[in-house]
Symmetry: D2
Amino acid sequence: MAGNSFGQLFRITTFGESHGEAIGVIIDGCPSQLPVDLDYIQAELHKRKPGQSKITTQRKESDTVRILSGVFEGKTTGTPIMMLIPNEDQRSKDYSHNTNVFRPSHADYTYQTKYGIRDHRGGGRSSARETAARVAAGALAKLLLKSQGIEIVAHVSSVGKINAPNVEIKSAQEFIADREKNIVRCADPATAEEMIAFIDSVRKDGDTVGGKVSCHILNCPVGLGEPVFDKLHADLGKAMLSINAVHGFEFGSGFEGSEMRGSEHNDIFITSDTGVRTITNYSGGIQGGISNGMPIDFKVAFKPVATIMHNQATVDAQGNAAEISGKGRHDPCVVPRAVPIVEAMAALVLADHWLRNRNTILPQ
Amino acid sequence: MAGNSFGQLFRITTFGESHGEAIGVIIDGCPSQLPVDLDYIQAELHKRKPGQSKITTQRKESDTVRILSGVFEGKTTGTPIMMLIPNEDQRSKDYSHNTNVFRPSHADYTYQTKYGIRDHRGGGRSSARETAARVAAGALAKLLLKSQGIEIVAHVSSVGKINAPNVEIKSAQEFIADREKNIVRCADPATAEEMIAFIDSVRKDGDTVGGKVSCHILNCPVGLGEPVFDKLHADLGKAMLSINAVHGFEFGSGFEGSEMRGSEHNDIFITSDTGVRTITNYSGGIQGGISNGMPIDFKVAFKPVATIMHNQATVDAQGNAAEISGKGRHDPCVVPRAVPIVEAMAALVLADHWLRNRNTILPQ
Amino acid sequence: MAGNSFGQLFRITTFGESHGEAIGVIIDGCPSQLPVDLDYIQAELHKRKPGQSKITTQRKESDTVRILSGVFEGKTTGTPIMMLIPNEDQRSKDYSHNTNVFRPSHADYTYQTKYGIRDHRGGGRSSARETAARVAAGALAKLLLKSQGIEIVAHVSSVGKINAPNVEIKSAQEFIADREKNIVRCADPATAEEMIAFIDSVRKDGDTVGGKVSCHILNCPVGLGEPVFDKLHADLGKAMLSINAVHGFEFGSGFEGSEMRGSEHNDIFITSDTGVRTITNYSGGIQGGISNGMPIDFKVAFKPVATIMHNQATVDAQGNAAEISGKGRHDPCVVPRAVPIVEAMAALVLADHWLRNRNTILPQ
Amino acid sequence: MAGNSFGQLFRITTFGESHGEAIGVIIDGCPSQLPVDLDYIQAELHKRKPGQSKITTQRKESDTVRILSGVFEGKTTGTPIMMLIPNEDQRSKDYSHNTNVFRPSHADYTYQTKYGIRDHRGGGRSSARETAARVAAGALAKLLLKSQGIEIVAHVSSVGKINAPNVEIKSAQEFIADREKNIVRCADPATAEEMIAFIDSVRKDGDTVGGKVSCHILNCPVGLGEPVFDKLHADLGKAMLSINAVHGFEFGSGFEGSEMRGSEHNDIFITSDTGVRTITNYSGGIQGGISNGMPIDFKVAFKPVATIMHNQATVDAQGNAAEISGKGRHDPCVVPRAVPIVEAMAALVLADHWLRNRNTILPQ
């Protein structure tokens, strides 16, 4: 119950600290006979890794993943899949000045109080470095979903107060290709330029800024999601809120939907060539907690990263006033690197619910 | 894995359909020796029950709860606590016209497709009637938390585009007393009047409107929440998103926080009479997924109820175009009755994490 | 984690005390569209109920089960199934003399110490009355398994030192018919007579005696059971050991197998008309924790019931020496009524693993 | 739900195949601030490792364990603890003759049928090599229990038909010291010699033989175990039955108890210097599924190892008759190496239930 596992049937357990020897993940419950494309998994990790561009942290990690079990002759065997990612650029001395003080809006104070002990180096277990393990596991979940035709795509839809317009998604491939053309991972090129310039100016200020990631799940069959507590959007929401720095989640009409009337908001059913669908999609592809065959849409809000290059007042472990200096590496805006994390967590939720849904109706 | 249980150590499992014989809940994991105040539990249920006022549905249910096990001589015994709430006003004939058509933005279509069978009467299992079981269980969780000094209070902070100002909370008791002075359950009296008039006009239109509930957890000790997946706010988010009609969740600075800079958003630690606290509370009382001793604040967005008194186009089970007529009972705005549900789900999360946190440090 | 649930995908949660208002069970995860034969479920309960014959306890309970949710027009809907069994013959005054003393080899002392409070009436939650809920849920699991051709049959294979010879099983129906011809539920008529006479003499002594139940699972497909911890026999073992009064479990060659050599014990594979099978079945139908298509055989040892009609020395809640008098009702030998419980628990394990195994191989 | 995790609050997940790169385990839920004695953990592994003596398999593995996370400055931090054990002596060519045939009484046939694919090298995931990960995790559980005064000791109580007399346990240390004086791990020296000679003769025959391990848990407080399904002995039983080659489990009076009368079998309570205890201990230290403060006693039956040095008939993957030749390494009797595995699994169960029991009574 210590909270390091996620999922029921497609279940992952992650381990590792920012400056320990390695981080990694065990995936238990992946069906057998899934071909494992290690290059794809590695490419997903590269989208998350630090040091990709001038607008992300300069920590250097190759994030090279090794699979130690559960794959034989290129396919899953149904046994647990262990993925190991060694830590390389640990530079613990960067953090030695933080041993005894609590960094504002970090987890230092809560970890220290909860456990009575903490690995202070780079935030230890509370570091977003742990999300590399999620991306590796999520990449396998994506391979499972792709084998069933389901695609997951996300992009940066806002940075600070800069918002991208809605982008029509012709295909997952095209959307991703467009998004990867710029370092901020926004599928709208004009907005991307604006975002990059803004992040760069924030970086020069030694400051950070928040943003939002929008995610779309395409070709999801009807029926995924388990009422009443494990509604599909409830599990997606938990998944997203478990990502470092996330402060909000909405799907379909979201917060704006709370201002609407039922007569506007109801999605009218029609019959199309491809079966029953709805004219509008304020439901965000989910009704009663169960996917309805329409695209699943949700949005995730990230607060600004807490590590800034300014000096800040704080307290130390004895409760005395202290100051924390703004040195070390910093990530001016986390959302470009959060895109693969959002996709990975969505994939883990979908793979889990896809498996769970297979047992719903008794074979006659 | 069928999704009808919630919580790990303080774990509930609910059952029942809108028009079946009864609904109810088993609570497993409640510690022994907790005095059970049945009047309090019943009073909580009364806040959720239908037919309270002109602005809620007119279905008549006394929602009388019976405890069938787990309590002996007024105290919990550590064994499972079964709470049963019989259904009284079932009026299934009201729903007979919906047997074969899918109501827009309800769960009829998704349930029918997922299960190949559904209890169509009043939405069956997908009805918000199920939340009565949650309120009963949540009331017990609240008694557990109260015994430790923790209080949970919520109110309606917006209806449609009408937003209440922030209300200072002097004490949980006062806040609840103020809120209960009006039928919309908004702690700000002037806004409450405006909301009530607006809901009444929407009701006369045969329409519905959404809204938001704000919730505050007071006197929560430091240390609740389990990194990395079971962060306190991630479990709160899942709990809220599992409530019928919820489309969004945010805590602390929420969606607005994504527009801020780190230098504004960081909550600076200081030492006060009562120990370490932060000057601002953009973190919403949770850092790194763990409560930090500050008030926990979050907001929940509800879409407008799907049942409206208008005729609507739809399709039937054979995929043919059909019309659904706007008769039966309807609830113009769900948020006044959602207040005790939000509190109940928050209490279930807190009780669970309070128990989970007790095992964190090895006794020396 | 309070231990009142069993199973992962076909999951039950039981509640209720011996002398409370009712006992019952929620079954979550039963697939939809299973026809529910309520007469069959009731008939299974009748095999377990007290007062069946002169060799069982004389407590009178009709054990009439009501299904309050999850079934619509005679079929499961995929939502939780709640089964309620009211307690009728509670006669709590029979137990008032036990309020303050600990009955030898009962759970009075351990419950009191663990929880600091207990419902002493009839043993409260520790009473075998709770197994009625298991039999009801297990009957539903049997209906699920029968729909897939899997049958589970058990009988009393020994009482005290009286052992039945191995009985060839021509069909599940015939075996059960033979077994039900006598009140001790032994499929060998001659042994049954001997057992009945022996139990009756023990009963007249005011004493009790233990025995064993043998169980056979027929037509189980290959592939049920999950390595490495959830081996099929490990989950069967846990299920059996969770039944009141069980002190031992063995499958296949069991304890005797530990005295054999590998060259005798190995089950040689051959190809038969019906596919691969083994010549011998020392493996008891399970290899590496997974069913191999052969009959699954196991045996369960029950200690003698602790309630005897003799006066016994003991201590009271204050630790003072006390005496407990041998009055009330008593069950001289529990194994005839344990047969349906063993079958029910086996059915719950099999239904769960049958569901779990459906996700093993990725659909190509 | 794929079965590679064990425990609820002290929860382990193992991974790895016999001839993959490594095996290992993640432990989640270990309280913080437990000093980690790596030498002790390594010493436990040495008791299980192959190649220890002439009566065990000659595979050479140093079984050197590395801890990659969750420990900081020699103490647990409350975060997941990852233990990695590389495979060294893989010699896969030894197994190449088994690619296409099913070894009798191994898991080849069931794995191949269940998963449609298997890592055939050395039995892959079904190999007892996986138990090294359990011993490593169990050693940490033992350290946790030792910090609370609880000790677990096991020894080989029979090999084939050779049975050791009951050995009085003066202290855990002495018992273990005696047991470790001989290579068969029997605490009775005379019986040990007989056992060793017998195993050696069996080995020379190219055959194998089964045996039993007896285990004792000392100083266990009253109150561990959760009714009704997670009875302490039910979880111990599952733990033992999950070990490779185990065919039976009994506790307290066990199978013999089923032949006794209640008047003999009941354990009479008395008050002693150290509180309430029972005169006899047919209950094996557990009543109603909950520890009663007396020593917990159980026995585990192991079948003879399936790999023998004889040629055996079998079938191949196409169902054709085949022969398997008796070459490679073999372990004539598994029980000496099973002793640390039995202790490890018992420790995992006890650590889990010790944590679970801490939440039982509400702090007043």
